[in-house]
Symmetry: D3
Subunit: 310 residues, 6 copies
């Protein structure tokens, strides 16, 4: 049996698979958001927030209001397109009955996309301020950091937090697909998975980062520090889709520190203000304020010493 | 001492290093597989399996059998080339004595490469079906997932499992280098390291994923769920190469759930059907069916409460 | 309010943020090192160390001294540029008062940059030898490894260690920014975060790797093996910048093995020669030589069995 | 005066220029066709017409109906987009009063664009047949041509004629901008400027080509041969826009040959069937059938000898 | 003799050639201007002059003063670098004796480069105005032109004239290398070779263009029209370098028209105001004002008729 | 009728066209040379011949024998591949009967390709010397040239002659396709069409160049100067393929000058040593040595004056 025949035959089999699966019924002209475009948007926003750091060569001579205005218009242009695609596609998916009338009214999708994009644009100065506070927290928290520049350039924690802060704005504007594509991109680059729905206060500090998971309904206060391998997850994920929308991830109050490889689960689990959770701990119950907690009960002496050293 | 002289002198030193190390004796015309080409093959296969998601702009108007046929021929062309290079190179490496006669018979390598590539092509519809089941498992298991599209687009678990499923077919065809380059690419992107030799059943669910390691001789049943930071590893890896080929990684039966940051080691360790392993557990012994297990023995109350909450 | 006005207004707000933050006062002609260039340098060095593996197509016919000389000159050219930028920028940052006279004396920065780059170039044969020893350790340590070629091609451990070895040379030459950008690039690709300041002996073995953190003042002996998820960190990182320069990460002596997901903290913590630390352990005290240690005290039987199996 | 100020001041001056010139009043969301996309369309069509010649690597194994179907869908997708942009932009330009209502009726532009693109798609087999006849004419006419493959690969005449044949179909469908961008691209690559409006018969032969100009209202019969530097132009171009639409370029009947660097002008100038025009001739009057013509009257003997040699 | 030896031997031969030729003695750190960068500068300037036409996607929403300011700063950055390289290199070439002291005074080259770049930047609004007049001339002169947009997009005449206008400013600032690299790039794209030293008035019209040559000391008035294949050259170029700097190309006064393939030579040749030169003419003597000239003396009747038709 | 159906139907029509035309019967695994690769080879050779001019950044510090050796090995690698493809394809085309046995003997094609590539490599130093003489001729002949560097950088004449000199070596080695693809690339960039079969002496000078055509059997002596628009062509090209291999283009002896837009035709036409041919001349008869010739017989006075001026 020759190559061309095998190719034709296999193509026919795949075609049957396609038609058996709803996800491949893409109507003429319908499109999905483009991952590479969304990553481009992230990079433009990073250029805007940290001029001179990420590839804009002219930043030492351009008046910075001009630089910002130009970047904003590039971001607007790219984001508007993806938001419109995402809205159109998500409407197709969820409200099949209203599909036709919505399409006839395509101008209105244009207008909604324009409004949402402008809402986002207007929030960027505030987002920048938040991110600069995170950078400051990083500088104060890490003895190995030699300068703000080094942190901005190369710290994965700042990369992941920046993208979370951006994606969170889009999440709050209820834009589908795009916030998650953004944070998953950061996840891929850093090993830090912050769901765009999480609520995180100011001066958030992540060190090293790889393996950190912060779930969708997590609440984190100000000045919190989290180390690599920490999970803030759902206690029981067996029920799957039924739990959608319910608060199922922990609450971490102000000034808490959580050491490496610790797992904290459950929507009712609260780590109180100023508490410290040791590393490699599996925690599913709340911790009062100003407490040091470790799961290694038999090693009390060990723990005592560790606390003294601080 | 000037720059040109230092460059020439250092080059001579490196040249001595090269000639002292067998791996750099590459014969005229010999080649190594090309990583960037293999990554391209992965991307083409993803386009084939999920038309419209990863950069094929024309999917809303092309008849899908034509789309599939064209993608298959691109995959054939690229994969055939890399398989041939990998076979030629691996023969050089392992059977030095027969090298010359094998080269004289280069037509036969062409034929073997063609056959292996076609075997792979023929299995793609089946691979697609498996992957679509994994997507379904992801949708049912994750309350934060809002649609199949979001999962396909941005879930690292699906990315890593898809590539494992593809690489596993090549592993079973005993093609050298390529399966591992594929899964290590997924590892790099997701932090999920599934050895292409592992045996994994249907509806496999990975959440978040970063830090997951699944060893070469692991066996996993259907409907298994695994969270971030879980290792299914060898109990003792001290003996190194002596253990090559021996079953040295655990067996996980149907419907098992393993929570975050747990380590399960050993070829004789079996987690029985329907059991649940808590997070941050270090497990080197078997677990009977339908059991909940945690290493935190002294904290029984804690554990009990946690179990009740489910 | 129309789009152009919102863009102008938001740009003005960002401009205020810029001027309130010292990090954005970049003088005319001042530049920051370029991340993409530094990644290119890494790739060129990998080509130099492993000819034929990473995209240099002509390696089967080029005389290898010529190949090495050409690569060295490319590396020199690119690295010299980045070192000069990094030195100029770091002087701006730290010694503002001397800024003017330093700039007038720009020839001297040229000369220093040239010297430092040549120092680095001269050390590359030695670096290559170290890396080849690491490859050998990997081959002997991993039963799943089928050939040296596979390890070089696709093992994240080797990728991260290679880049650490390169970055460490630059760190010792006290070059700012660049070493950390290099190791953070490896961190992003592999999930392995080795600070360029760490001191690591020969035949270092990392398996799987994701989630490994090795801090700046860590000391590691020869023939050490470390698995995924292991942290060698600071005991207390609350004091932040005050600890800069102090030995605050552990010492790991020769022939130690540390299993998956274990956390070892503290500058006075020493794991003695030949000892083994089990997985999922949280360790903040020293371990004598030739000992097996695990934090799971209550599970003595379990541990006993595990140790027997080895 | 510092750089930033000069940049701001010059930008303001340019802004005044922009607002003084109607062509820069681009409304929000309005776009111009994209030259790079149109060139991509040309390249895809060349791939379709000559499979295997221009970068489609898989042509030796793909079933050719699948190849063609896939290429057609790519061409459809790209061309549809550009046609829609071109129509919208041209309407803006010419019928300003109806602009608003036209925009409200944007669905109809979608439909018109779809229809026009499909009309074009349907004509491609016919276009391919014409181009293959031109290739044949080239092979028969040029003693230096060694094979059809060489002609397809490297003859500028075939490049320019192919693109003319494609652009002419779009010209006849009255699509604005795109046909001219196509033929000017061919002009730039070959030095052959064929207006897409020209009417050209079968088996058209151009040798070398550089400097050939064929005007918009030129009519050329079958089996005509034209050499480098030949102009078929308007007699008087002084009246400019007044002549728009009038037949102002010559008519060349079947089997005519025109040698290098000859200029033939005027809408009433007809070169009759089977005639030959010598090189470096300036011709503004008609030539009867089967005649040899040259402007070098005093050199009759020379001309006679030249004709004998044929 | 094997491949590696032949390569080494041939390399040695080339090395001898290099050392025998002064042009390859490039000192450490010396550089030549980069052609690809200069082409990039041209493209940025075209984007600045015609916003929206050449790939700046955001032009429908960016405030145009911001757009212009950003483009200007990009142009400044790129051009400054190339001007500095060109000055340094040209000083090396011409004033070898002063080389050392000039290098010590490297700051002064920085300052000169900055000044020259700013001079250029300041002239861009004026250059834009000139080019817009050329576009207008093109629209009025060509009956086939359907809109200003079409001319800007696809007319080679406008492309070549625009680049000449830009290069001429740099020529007048006495910047070496760069002006010629610019006009030769236009030459390559359009077949129109305008020396950057030529003096050309307003409303210059070139139709089709291929084969046009305009020499360094040519003077052209306002409202001149030139067709394809026209040379305005030196009468005798036998003396080569001796003629450098002397006026050796013709003067074309206002409102002259020169038809296709005509050659006009000599520094004393003047075509008087309002005159018309027919096509395929070889002209080495001056023509009085308001005259129609053709070299085809024996064909007087023909010429008469042609003139009547106008 | 919907889009997918029209695409399928049109694809079927194209498929019929393909099967009716022999040129599209490409066997499995058969390939055509790749134009983009051949252009890459040209660029590498230019880098080799003029180090530092075309994008090799490291030329100020690399020892030049290392630079040359590395470039040679890149050229070998790329050229070998294309030569092998070209030979295999051309054998398919011409000797269909022996096809099968030739393929069985594929090693011999490997050997022949290796030999031919090495022959070419060995001639590169000689080719470089010839090209440097052409550069010198250009410098002496053009009063507008300010330096050797400017000529190498931007003169189309040197570009076209360099590529001709390279392609001519391949032509003499009887390699199919590749020489013509090379010279047509130069033709596209410069408007200068030199057939790779032409025989051209040393110190060849082309000014401006656009529109120059030099046919396959042309012979040109040393120190010849040719201006734009000059054709050295066949007298009668009506007989087409019958003339293949016959001397049909003119002979130009040493020290001849041919001015712009002149056409010289015929295999027996000889322009004798030291003669000068005026511009816009159509010449089909031989010219004795040391003569000035012009076709404008009636304008004797004009000609006389022109000659005096020289």
């Amino acid at each position: 049996m020759d190559i061309k025949k095998i190719i034709s035959k296999t193509a026919a089999e795949l075609d049957i698979n396609y038609s058996n699966q709803g996800i491949f019924e893409i109507g003429v002209g319908e499109k999905l958001p483009k991952r590479s475009e969304i990553i481009e948007i992230i990079e433009e926003i990073r250029r805007l927030i940290f001029p001179g750091f990420f590839g804009s060569e002219n930043t030492s001579i351009v008046p910075l209001d001009i630089f910002a205005g130009n970047e904003l218009s590039i971001i607007y242009e790219k984001l508007y397109k993806q938001i419109k695609i995402a809205l159109l596609f998500s409407l197709r998916d969820k409200k099949d009955r209203n599909k036709d009338e919505l399409k006839g009214d395509s101008k209105s999708i244009d207008e909604i996309s324009e409004e949402l994009t402008l809402e986002f644009i207007k929030k960027l100065p505030k987002v920048q301020e938040l991110i600069l506070k995170d950078v400051e927290a990083e500088l104060q928290g890490d003895p190995a950091a030699s300068s703000l520049e080094e942190i901005i350039f190369s710290y994965p924690g700042i990369y992941a937090i920046s993208i979370y802060r951006v994606a969170h704005v889009l999440y709050e504007l209820k834009i589908p697909f795009i916030p998650r594509i953004m944070t998953e991109h950061a996840h891929s680059k850093t090993g830090i998975d912050i769901n765009p729905g999480a609520t995180i206060g100011e001066y958030f500090f992540i060190d090293h980062g790889t393996g950190i998971v912060i779930g969708e309904t997590t609440t984190i206060g100000d000045h919190v520090k989290i180390y690599q391998g920490v999970t803030l997850g759902a206690l029981s994920t067996m029920k799957g889709q039924e739990l959608s929308g319910v608060k199922r991830h922990p609450t971490i109050e102000n000034n808490v520190v959580i050491y490496a490889n610790t797992t904290i689960l459950g929507g009712e689990t609260v780590v109180g203000e100023g508490s410290v959770v040791a590393g490699n701990t599996f925690l599913t119950q709340s911790v009062p304020a100003n407490t040091t907690v470790s799961a290694y009960l038999p090693e009390l002496k060990l723990k005592a010493r560790r606390v003294k050293n601080k």
